[in-house]
Symmetry: C3
Subunit: 350 residues, 3 copies
């Protein structure tokens, strides 16, 4: 399905320079775009490539437009943030082609008579919605999802197939939860008594804000007493584990395989690279950025980028360096000895 | 639902000092508790805070009671292990408020005619129980669970929604398996032939003892020939991977995201911090404690705490130290040279 | 069910020395095998043990046969690759005892009228197959699986229970996908605008070749524009995360908990140890082997074994070495100073 360039800009904003009647069908990268595509320039180092793209239209910043505009024959859309504009334009095209699930409850789904499901919501095959659950307007609940007792799903939130959203958990509006995610399993809490573990019941829930996205097979545990809290706009990738009673600040994003142990309090606008790990009961300030594969073992009070992983090397080289790492204390001892010896040699000389 | 303090102590033990007729509704932390709560003191450094809590009753040790007792106006429950007592009291209150699933098979569940399900078990919506499977008394099998052919679920074991428990696997009594866990998928076994992988069929199963808890989206693979074994009282958090033919000793606990490669033999009463990893075919003694984020690359014969992760730093500092880590062999060479030079300087002097 | 040794060799090849009429029931390791088993010798260091095995027959190489053959009283099967022969023999026995799912659609499954399911395929309880999906001959789709719109599953491919295979994804023939795997969830793509994340729709899919095996709870994200690609013969263990637009080369194998960030291009015949991590947009050559727990933070152009994890130590020792690791730049400074001092001492002497 194609759309008129002028209609797109009318909806998304920005300044159009060129033919508003051009028809475009979608977005493509600079190198792949043809005359039916829009493309975008978000990094000035690709200006030369942008000037040569065959795309029908180019989204770019005012600064880049000064340089690229004169050389590029197609239409231009000048925007403050070309990458965000690209994202919105891509959403626009995706919506044109999206399959829209039909409202209503699939005949194979089970909805408890004491659950409340909005008439505009779509409930997929073999979904189960337990007593007291509440599913808002325009929600899409995919095949095989389970929504527990007294759980609450805000309007326009979408659960892809096979999400588990357990008793008493809440998610706000416009959320997206991907397949296999488990929200509200018990936190990991035990008291040790003579070597055996006594379970501490987990009676809190999970509270999730608006505009949150949760990746496939990600798990967020319910709190022990109070709730685990995921604030507005948080984006979690796949295979993430969030322990009980964590608090993840608004608009923080975590890449795949991150783990956050229980009761960690994480600030707003943080980013976590893949497989980063956070120990329990730590506090992390706003605007902290943790590199992939790094272990956060103490609280962080100052914004900035933090890293901690062992550098990769050919195995034979790693073996040599790793042995020395283990013996660093003796190396330091040797250096201290050398210092003493040199000092004594110097003094002898005087 | 409230309960009389005297009734609680009669059931759970401990020595009650104070009004046995007080009514309490639940447990709360020292700082949050009000006159309807019990609270607990498990760490002497909070004695001052404990003396000031507004709770109706305080669980504490005899030693702490000597100090705190005289200052605290409420009732006291003196117990040998206040934290374990708290856990049991919390269980007591949780049970008062818990939703009890109705025995019977949900009309949307599928139970093969050749499966055996105890009449007291509760089988949730869209669960599937295959031929030859056996589900014991008072079991709760949640919505969307799959129990494979000839699998066996011991009495009072609870599967939360969407657990997969595959052919021939067995779990004992009073187990808890959380949503998304997969027990009994094939172990990862292949023979390489001219660059292609030939699958080695995995014909063992998984045998799980009594009182085991398995976290959300955790996976335990079936053995290649013999079974993978999880002994009594083991507690596994979320997102854990246990490879084929592993043996996890009784009462060992693993935090989230731990990975254990195939054929590792792990002792009893061990603990593993989050994201710790164990290579295959290793043996780990009883009472070994592995810190979070640590890679266990050799067998451990001696109890104790073991650690191995790169310390976190500001990214710029990490970059400097990481370069040196890679060049440690040349640094050691330089130190050896210095030693020689100093020695020769010293000898020259003589 | 037992089988005649001669029949097995006729089917699998190799040279049989000994009684072709012997009946065998399965495979067992050297130490456990009895007179009803075949066993195998793939590592010359077990020659002595092999000569003493009680197995009915021994699979071994021609070189090992020269040494072991004269001493071993049972039958021998001489094969070019005894370990691969063992794998095939084990498959043979596993098939004899395997439960064969009945073709047809389970009465509790939902198959959209616009989906195409081969008559020889078996669709399990509560499976859901959406409009436009295509399921080939002899496929087995387990209980609770979800196959999205226009997805395509090649002949003889088996999905174990509770696999999610989303819209438009494709897998070739003879694939195996284990329970809880999620293929085709959205890749993790967002544009940041004034601190908020704008979703970049993920409109590619996942394309998977023939003979691919995908582990339990593994996730493979759909591409942003083009597809994520998994080539023929790839073997992925459990709990793996493959980001959007990755390309995994043919016959590459990854152990559990590996993470590959978006747009990484990985060569053929690579292996990844457990919990290895690969950053996004990297390129890794063919025949690269990454050790467990290693972070790949740059492209690798040369085949070989690469490693990068912090060595494990007793916690007290780790604490000492880790402090020094963080202070390595100052240690290097000190060494430079020592060099200067020694040089100046040496010059003074002249």
């Amino acid at each position: 399905m194609s759309t008129r360039l002028g209609d797109l800009v009318e909806r998304l904003g920005g300044r159009l320079i060129g033919d508003a009647d051009k028809q475009v069908v979608g977005i493509a990268p600079l190198s792949d775009a043809d005359a039916s595509h829009i493309t975008f320039l978000s990094n000035p180092k690709f200006r030369t490539q942008a000037a040569q793209t065959r795309a029908a239209a180019l989204i770019l910043s005012a600064a880049d437009d000064e340089v690229v505009g004169p050389a590029y024959p197609g239409a231009r859309i000048v925007a403050a943030n070309p990458y965000a504009y690209f994202a919105r334009a891509a959403q626009y095209f995706a919506l044109l082609n999206a399959h829209v699930p039909v409202p209503g409850i699939h005949r194979t789904a089970f909805v408890d008579p004491e659950a409340q499901v909005s008439a505009s919501a779509s409930i997929g095959p073999h979904a189960a919605i337990e007593a007291g659950a509440w599913v808002g307007e325009d929600c899409v609940i995919g095949a095989g999802c389970v929504i527990g007792r007294n759980a609450r799903v805000g309007a326009k939130t979408r659960f892809h197939p096979r999400v588990t959203f357990l008793d008493g958990c809440r998610i706000g509006e416009r959320g997206i939860v991907h397949s296999g995610a488990v929200i509200g399993a018990d936190g990991f809490g035990f008291a040790n008594e003579s070597g055996k573990w006594i379970k501490i019941p987990q009676t809190g829930a999970v509270t999730i804000g608006d505009d949150v996205e949760i990746g496939a097979n990600t798990t967020i545990d319910r709190g022990a007493l109070a709730d685990t809290v995921i604030e507005d706009g948080v984006k979690l990738d796949n295979q993430i584990q969030i322990g009980h009673n964590c608090q993840i600040g608004a608009h923080t994003a975590m890449a795949g395989c991150v783990g956050v142990a229980g009761s960690a309090i994480i600030g707003k606008h943080c980013t976590f690279g893949g497989a980063a790990m956070v120990l329990g009961h730590l506090t992390i300030a706003d605007n902290v950025h943790i590199s992939s594969g790094s272990m956060v073992s103490r609280s962080i009070n100052e914004p900035g980028q933090y890293t901690g992983f062992y550098p990769l090397a050919k195995n034979a080289e790693w073996e040599k360096s790793a042995v020395i790492v283990r013996n660093l204390p003796s190396m330091r001892e040797k250096i201290r000895e050398l210092e003493k010896n040199i000092k004594s040699l110097g003094e002898d000389k005087e």
